[in-house]
Structures are given as C-alpha cells and as structure tokens.
C-alpha cells in the first residue's frame, strides 16, 4: 500500500476575467503517493500549472481542500503556506528563476538556510548535490547568467532539493531548454526519483512525460484519466507506446 503524500478533495480554482468567472480547475479529487514520479499532462489551458501551484501551496484553491499528511494546507495563511513550502516542497520552474544577483551557491543557500541552521553541513550537502548534477566547483561561484540553460536548470533542481523536500514540483522543467540539455535535466530528475524523491511534473512533452510512472491527463480543469507506466527502467519504446495509446484515448 502506497503512502499518500498529498490529496485533494473537490479542488476548484476560478479566475475572474473582466467580470466573467473562469473555472480553471473543477472538483478535482486526487491523491499523490510517496516515491511516485507523477506527470500531469494536458493541452494548453487545461489547468496543469494551476493544479501544480494549488497542490504545492503556491496558490490557494477557490473551493475544496488540499491535505498534506494530516494537515489541510489550503486553509493556511500566505505566510503559513510559505513555511509549508520551505519545509516540504521543492520547485523547478520552466523559466528556471534563479536570482540573477546571487551566485549559484548563494541561490541554493538562500533557500537552504531558511530551514537548516547548520551552515557547514548545508554547504557540504549543496556541494554534493551540485556534484551529483555535474556542476563544477568553479561554476558554483558564477552567476546564473554565466551558465548555460541546462546548467542553470540543474542548479534549479539542486535548489529545489536542498531542503530534502517530501515532494519536488516541476513545471515544464525542459520547456525552455534545447533537447540535449532538456535530456540532462530529465535524467537528473529521474535519478533523484529513483533514489526515493517524490516528483510531480507538469509537461506537454511526451519525451518528458514518459519518465513518470503515473500520468494524469487534464482536460478543461478536470482529471480525464490516468495511466500507470510503471517504474522507469529504460524501456523507452514500450513506455512510449503505452503513453501514446493513453494520450490518443484522451484525445491528445
């Protein structure tokens, strides 16, 4: 029996647009499990990122609730959500979003020091993670603008993992990268997932999606279906075919 990390009940999200209410997410009941690599797919405008941000406490739902463990996070104040995010979540963004004015190491430590008080151990851990994602020691002193897109995104992954979060949320992490660097980033995410890191990733790219073991398909703000791809063991063709069939069934 898989351990439930996060669950939603009747999760809805609406935005007002020139006086008209647009329902982006509609009554979503969902459970996310520990150790899974969950991929959320869907057409543009389906509500993928909105769902991701609602799940991660980055945004509050209009209706329904989101529960992390036994704690209803959808009721938390903005500052309460911030504390929740720093302790339990890591984020990887499509646009990477490293802070330009800080060195690579400072980008990571600024997040890490929010939770960890043992700076020495934290620096050591950051170095290990950077080494694991193939960022050289020399590059650690650089600024984001001095790195390639792939390197920067891998730094983004390290920043997301520095507080050893229960869930790593990734919003189109390869969306702004070329295919080679995108592949490196996916490999990194897969590697950490294989080590037990729970990952929730939004993508509309099949190559990225087939790294997940659980695929959720969103359409018009609702989870239309899901597909279990099983653990990633480099059976690319088999996974590709299964995913293709699922997506065809969903109307992709």
């Amino acid at each position: 029996m898989k351990e439930i990390l996060l669950k939603t009940e009747s999760l809805s999200k609406s935005f007002s647009n020139n006086g008209t209410l647009q329902h982006v997410l509609k009554n979503i009941d969902l459970k996310l499990y520990k150790g899974d690599f969950t991929v959320i797919m869907g057409a543009s405008g389906a509500g993928k990122s909105t769902l991701l941000y609602a799940l991660s406490g980055m945004d509050t739902p209009s209706l329904g609730k989101v529960t992390f463990g036994n704690k209803v996070i959808s009721d938390l104040s903005p500052d309460g959500l911030a504390v929740f995010r720093r302790k339990h979540c890591g984020f990887v963004f499509q646009q990477i979003y490293l802070i330009d004015g800080m060195s690579i190491m400072d980008n990571i430590l600024s997040t890490g020091l929010l939770v960890n008080k043992d700076k020495k151990a934290l620096v050591q851990y950051a170095r290990e993670l950077l080494k694991a994602v193939d960022i050289s020691e020399e590059a650690q002193k650089k600024f984001p603008a001095q790195l390639s897109g792939g390197e920067a995104q891998r730094v983004g992954i390290v920043r997301a993992l520095i507080n050893s979060p229960e869930i790593l949320f990734a919003d189109e992490p390869t969306g702004a990268l070329n295919s080679k660097t995108g592949l490196d980033v996916l490999d990194t995410l897969t590697k950490f997932n294989e080590q037990g890191q729970s990952v929730v990733m939004v993508t509309h790219d099949m190559r990225s999606a087939r790294r997940g073991n659980r695929i959720l398909y969103l359409k018009d703000g609702m989870v239309l279906g899901e597909c279990d791809l099983g653990r990633y063991r480099h059976k690319d063709t088999e996974r590709h075919n299964k995913l293709s069939a699922f997506l065809t069934e969903m109307g992709w």
Binding site: V115, A145, Q146, D171
Partner: protein, 781 residues
C-alpha cells in the same frame, strides 16, 4: 510628433504612482522657487514703489531745535549741492518714547509731526492707511496695528520719560523712511490740538525734520555722512537723528531677507531631490523597458525619437506640476505676506508677477529636461537585439557581496545587504536625500533651540548686549547715580553701555558703543574676533563694515566727532544687526579724545524676581532731574522677539512637514522601483518559502545602511556647517559669525528618529510585497 505623444502617454499610464510622486516634488519645488523669486525680486521693489509714491527722502534728519540760523545753513548747503534733487524742512518734535505692543514694549526715538504738516509735505509724504477721522488723537505706524493689540478707535499710552500720555488712536500711517522701530527714528502723527499740547508741555524736544532726495540713491549713506559732517563742523552741539535710504531699505527687510533665504534654500534642495529622483527614474525606466525600447528600435524608431518621447513624458508632467505649484505659491503668499508686512510695516498688494513665473517655468523645465537627457543618452547605445533579450547580461560578472557561505550575519540581513550593495543608484539617491534632510533638520533644531525654546541666543546675536534695564542720565548726576546703584538691593550689576554716533574719516557714520570696562558686558560674543578695546586708542569695529572697507585687526583708522579727530587701532571685530554691521566699540576715555558726553546710558542687571518696570519708576523718582529715559529692555526686546518666534515656528513646522513629505515621496519612489525591479525575485523567494514579513524586513533593511550612513554623516556635517551657513544668510544684516548651540542630544535623537521613521515608512510602503503571489511565476497557462 503624434508618435512621441503616444509613447509618452503610454509610459505615463503605466507609471501612475511614480508620476504622482514626481509631480508632488516638482509642485513643492516650483511653489517655493516662485515664492522666493516673488519675495526677493518684487517684495523689496515694493519699498522703492512706495518710496517713489510718497516721494520719500533718501536722507532724513531730525535736528534738535527750531534754530533759524541752523535752518538757513541747511537750506544753503542743500541748495548748493548738485546731488540734491529736492528737499523739505518742517517743525517736528523728537522724543525717546515707549508704548506697549505685542506683549512687549516699543522703545525708540520717535519723530512726531502734526498730521496736516506730514500729509502736505513735498518730500517724505505720509500716507494714512486707516483712519477713524477722529478729531483728536494719534496716528501710529501701521506695523503696530498688525497684532490687534492696538486698534484704530482704541487708545494707547505713550510714555515719554516719566510722563504717560493717553491718546485716542485715530488710525495708522505709512511712512517709508520712519515707519518702524527699525528705521532709527519712528514717526508718530498727532492731530493739531495734541501736537500743540505736547509742544507746550515740553516733554518732547523741538526739532527740525529734514528730508532730502538726491540723484543717486545708492550714495545715500555717503551723502548722509557728508551732510552731518558739514552740520557738526558748523554747529558742534547740534545733535541729530538720521537715516538713509540704504540703511532703511535694508533694515526694514531683515525678516524678508531671512525668510527669502530659507525659502530659496528649501526650494533648491527640493529641486535637487526632484532631479535626483527623475534621473534615477529614467535609469530604471530604461532598465525596466529594455525590451520595449528594443521593439521600438526594431520597428524603426530612432534613439532621438525615443529620448524625445521620454523628454515629452517628463516635461508634460513637469509643466503641469510647475503651473500648479506656481498657483499654490499664490495661495500661500497671502499668509507669508501678512507675516512679512507685520515685519516690514509697508503694505504690499499681491498681484500676478510674470517675471518670477517665467523664470520658475523655464528653470524647472530646463533642469528636468537636463535630468532626463543625462541618463537617457544611454538609449543611443542600446542595440535592438540586446534590448529584445532584456539586455541579457552575458558578460556581467557581478561581485558576489556578502557570500552566504562565509557570512556570519543572519540570512535575512545578509540578503538585505546584498540588495544594498547591488543598488548603487538607490544608495546615491538615499544619500543625497538624507544629506539634504539632515541639513534641514539641523537647521530646524537650531531654530527650535536658539529661537523657539529660548530666544536669548538669537537676541544676543541680533541685538548684541542684553540687560534688564537701561537708564539714560545726564552726566552731572553720574556720581550720585552710581552710588545709589551700588547700594540698591535690586541691582546685581550696573555698567556703562552708551551708544553715540561717530564718523569714520573717509567712511560713513558708525554707531559707537562706549563702556568703561567691556569685561562687564553680559554678551562677550559681540566681539567675536580679537578682543574688546582696553585702551583709549583702541576700538573694535563691525566686521561687515571692516570687510567692505578692507580693514583688519591691527589697522589704524581715524574717527571724528564734535569736530575733533583721533586715530584708533582696531583690536577686534564685532557683529550686531542693530546697525547692519556699521558699528564700533570704544572705551569711554577713547571717545572722550574726540567728543564730549552730555548724557550716558547705563545697563543694569537686576536680581531675580525684580519687577523691572517698578524698578525703573523707583529710580526715576529718586532723581528729580537728570534721568532722561528708562527702558525695560526685556520688555522691549520681547515685543519684537515674539514676532520672530512666531515666524520661526511657522518656518520650522513648514520645513519639517515638507521634509516628511519629501522623504516619504523619495522612499515611495525607491521602494516602488525596487519592488518592480525585484518582483520576480520576490516571487522566487516566496515560492522557495520566504514569508512576506521576511521580504518586507529584507526590503526595509536594505535601505538602512545608506540611510544610517548618510544620516550620520549628514547630521555631523550639517552641525559643522550650519553656523557658517546661517552667517551667510545673515551677512546682509551685519552678522558674519554665528555661534548658535546645536543640541547634541536632540541631534542624536533626530538621527535615530530619521532612521526609525525611514525603516517604518519603507516597511509600510513594502506592504505591496503582500500582493506578489508566487503564482506570478506561472507562465504559459
């Protein structure tokens, strides 16, 4: 041109908050600039207008006696003098008199004329500005009707020596050369019956009042000195009161000069801050809109067109703000005018002044255009492709300030310091603003400490010597007087402090203050350089006059009085505003080398709790004859001081309110710019778990190093320069060195107050960070 308007309009709509803040700064600056220009350009010209309107004299003399021979001599002298354009000579009475005014007392030399004589004079006409048409009574200068303690239709008690005469106040007059106690003689008009009555009673001295117009008014002091010289050579006993155009035009506008000086300083400081803010704004605009600029360039706009649009954007709001500011200055002017008229005593009619208007508009628009052009030159260097990439800083190897790995400061403070070190423009703007505000604050402290809370330091500087009572006696009772003073239980100190006129050979008439021993005087700072004269061949001289004449300590000059001349070595420099720096100090024996003393003024310090008025009356009663005049100095000074205290209170409150508004506006612009620039960073930090409170603290703390540094430096530097700077403003009235006390405790408290206020204001302004949700990072959905 339409394209430029479109870009400018688009920019204005996007930056409403910043636009409003800049408009407010320019509005304040233009309103003060226009006020200053009106005060300095037209206000003093008003004196000339009234001088011409009333055909006033450039030199005015009141000579003792109705002596026909003396009058013939004066007539002959004036007729022969090619410089004389017109003159007029009439009977008058002179008296050292006093009356209560403005919670104090006015005690000065009065020239008293019969009403119809005064109104019908060819030169030096008098104008009645308020008239009850009462048949019998007195007309006072309009300056004494400003505080409502004396009103037309009421009564006033005029004290001449021991005699108190109650008059009905028929109205108020305007006399350009004798309309206030600042003119060395002050005019009173009596109706025919009252004039005859006073003449017959013999309380006042029968005199000859001479008013002379000359062809070059700038030489009025020289003419005055020459005329008096001629008279005293022929009639050594003829004592006189006199004044000149130069002296009166300066002394009646002391308050206007001080006020104009303060307003001009404030105006230029606000303009400076506004320009710094605009420069900073343009730089930020270029950074924030790099992509838009790239788009404009890519579609064919030239740099010049983009700069022109930017110029148009700022100049259009500047023009609106300047015109509104000038309008505001006209709204404020009546209040300032009331204050000024209560000081100058000359009516001023507010009207639209085109020259200050044009200068204000051109100066501020020109300065703003320059401030926009200076940083916007950078637009020329921007390549469209670079701009379209948001000015990608591929080669920007920034210095990593406060590396978190090595730093020992708490995380939030470290991140705040990183922002501080990366915000060069922000720091420069804060530093300039805080330096300016520190100066303003120290100036306000100086006003509070030395005028509002305790006016004595200001009085000591302006008036010079202060005691409780001044008693003028005939020399023949001096010995008896001093014996009685020695035995009087109410007297703690009695010393000679007598003012008499001498002339500098080759120069002008100087007011000489005599004392037996200057170590007795209460205010030692009157002689601020060198030392008081000790020997009969020494003198201390007014610093302003000495500077004008190129005289220094150790130089020898010749003084003359009563037809005798003697040389004196300058032992020190003095400063008192009473004679606009045209004064000197001599020992009594030093003066007696050239002149004879008929009367003497003694200054008396009474013991605490003594009623000075009762003391003066008691002394007068002790001598049947021989006491010419008693003056309650404290009361006399308080009468004038109260107006200064009120004026300074208004100025300090205005300056502090203005400072608070400016600091809030500047911080608002900086915080807003910072938040806009770092919106994405704040989103990232929020997403990674920073709370709004932490980010607000970081923002506020990032301002603090420059606020603390510039406030500390500003307060220390301002404390050092404020006295010399104040002396510059007061130089016109003869003050060349100020020694006002700057309260250290209050300065430290003010510094802490500025820092805490700045922190609080930035925290409040940073509340906008609450609205930055991490989902702003949401892209593509």
């Amino acid at each position: 041109m339409k394209k430029h308007f479109l870009i400018a309009w688009c920019n204005l709509r996007r930056t409403k908050g910043q636009t409003v803040a800049i408009v407010l700064l320019i509005l304040a600056a233009s309103s003060m600039l226009n006020l200053w220009l009106m005060l300095s350009m037209d206000y003093k010209r008003n004196f000339d207008r009234y001088h011409d309107k009333l055909n006033a004299g450039h030199v005015t003399l009141a000579l003792n006696g109705y002596n026909a021979e003396l009058r013939d001599f004066i007539t002959e002298t004036l007729e022969k003098d090619k410089n004389v354009v017109q003159y007029c000579m009439d009977d008058a009475l002179t008296a050292n008199a006093s009356f209560e005014y403005n919670d104090g007392e006015v005690s000065t030399e009065f020239i008293i004329l019969e009403k119809q004589t005064a109104l019908n004079r060819l030169v030096e006409k008098t104008e009645i500005v308020e008239d009850t048409k009462a048949a019998s009574g007195i007309y006072l200068p309009m300056i004494y009707g400003m505080d409502n303690s004396i009103s037309a239709g009421g009564t006033v008690d005029i004290t001449i020596g021991d005699n108190v005469i109650n008059y009905n106040v028929c109205g108020f007059l305007n006399s350009v050369m004798a309309g206030s106690h600042n003119c060395s003689m002050c005019m009173l008009l009596l109706t025919k019956d009252k004039y005859r009555e006073l003449e017959e009673k013999g309380f006042a001295i029968k005199s000859t009042f001479v008013s002379v117009r000359i062809n070059d008014k700038t030489k009025s002091e020289d003419f005055e000195a020459a005329l008096k010289n001629k008279i005293s050579n022929k009639y050594p006993d003829a004592s006189s009161l006199s004044n000149s155009y130069n002296l009166v035009s300066s002394s009646r506008y002391i308050s206007q000069m001080v006020c104009a000086g303060i307003v001009s300083a404030a105006a230029f400081l606000v303009i400076l801050i506004a320009l710094v803010v605009i420069i900073s704004n343009v730089i930020n605009y270029i950074q924030e809109n790099m992509r838009q600029i790239g788009v404009f360039k890519a579609v064919g706009y030239r740099s010049r067109q983009i700069i022109l649009a930017l110029m148009l954007q700022f100049l259009s709001i500047t023009l609106i703000a300047v015109i509104t500011g000038i309008g505001l200055s006209y709204c404020l002017f009546p209040t300032i005018n009331d204050m000024m008229v209560s000081q100058t005593g000359i009516p001023y009619t507010i009207k639209f002044l085109p020259v200050p208007y044009v200068i204000t508009v051109l100066f501020i628009c020109g300065a703003v255009a320059f401030a926009v052009w200076l940083p916007s030159r950078r637009i020329r260097k921007i390549e469209p492709i670079i701009a379209l990439r948001q000015g990608i800083q591929t080669h920007n190897f920034k210095h990593n300030h406060i590396p978190l790995e090595k730093s020992h400061v708490p995380l939030n403070l470290a991140l705040a310091l990183k922002t501080t070190f990366s915000g060069k423009k922000q720091n420069i703007t804060i530093c300039i603003t805080m330096l300016v505000l520190s100066l303003v604050l120290v100036f306000s402290e100086l006003m509070v400490e030395n005028i509002i809370a305790d006016i004595q330091p200001f009085i000591r500087l302006i008036v010079g010597e202060m005691a409780d009572s001044c008693i003028n006696i005939n020399t023949d009772i001096e010995e008896e007087f001093l014996q009685k003073m020695d035995k009087n239980r109410d007297v703690s100190k009695c010393y000679l402090y007598h003012t008499i006129e001498v002339r500098h050979v080759g120069g002008i008439a100087l007011s000489a203050t005599l004392s037996d021993d200057f170590s007795n005087v209460n205010n030692k700072s009157v002689c601020f350089e060198g030392r008081f004269p000790k020997y009969d061949n020494e003198m201390a001289i007014g610093a302003r006059y000495a500077k004008d004449k190129g005289l220094e300590i150790g130089d020898e000059i010749t003084l003359t009085a009563d037809g005798h001349e003697a040389k004196y070595i300058i032992s020190g420099m003095t400063q008192v505003s009473n004679y606009l720096g045209k004064d000197c100090l001599l020992t009594r024996s030093g003066y007696e080398r050239i002149g004879k003393l008929n009367d003497l003024s003694y200054y008396i310090n009474t013991k605490t709790g003594t009623d000075i008025d009762k003391f003066n009356i008691a002394i007068s009663r002790q001598f049947e004859n021989g006491i010419n005049m008693t003056v309650n100095i404290v009361s006399a000074v308080n009468g004038t001081a109260a107006v200064y205290v009120t004026l300074m209170k208004i100025i300090v409150i205005a300056v502090l309110v203005l400072s608070a508004v400016i600091i809030t506006l500047v911080l608002y612009l900086l915080v807003r710019t910072l938040i806009n620039n770092k919106k994405q960073d704040y989103g990232i930090l929020k997403a990674t778990g920073f709370t709004t409170r932490q980010l607000i603290f970081q923002t506020a703390a990032s301002f603090m190093p420059s606020v603390i540094f510039s406030t500390a430096v500003g307060l220390v530097a301002s404390s050092l320069v404020i006295n010399p700077l104040t002396a510059v403003f007061l130089r016109g009235i003869g003050i060349v060195k100020c020694t006002f006390v700057i309260p250290v405790g209050l300065t430290v408290a003010a510094g802490v107050g500025i820092v805490l206020s700045a922190f609080g204001i930035v925290c409040l302004l940073s509340l906008k960070i609450r609205k930055i949700a991490p989902r702003v990072l949401l892209m593509g959905e």
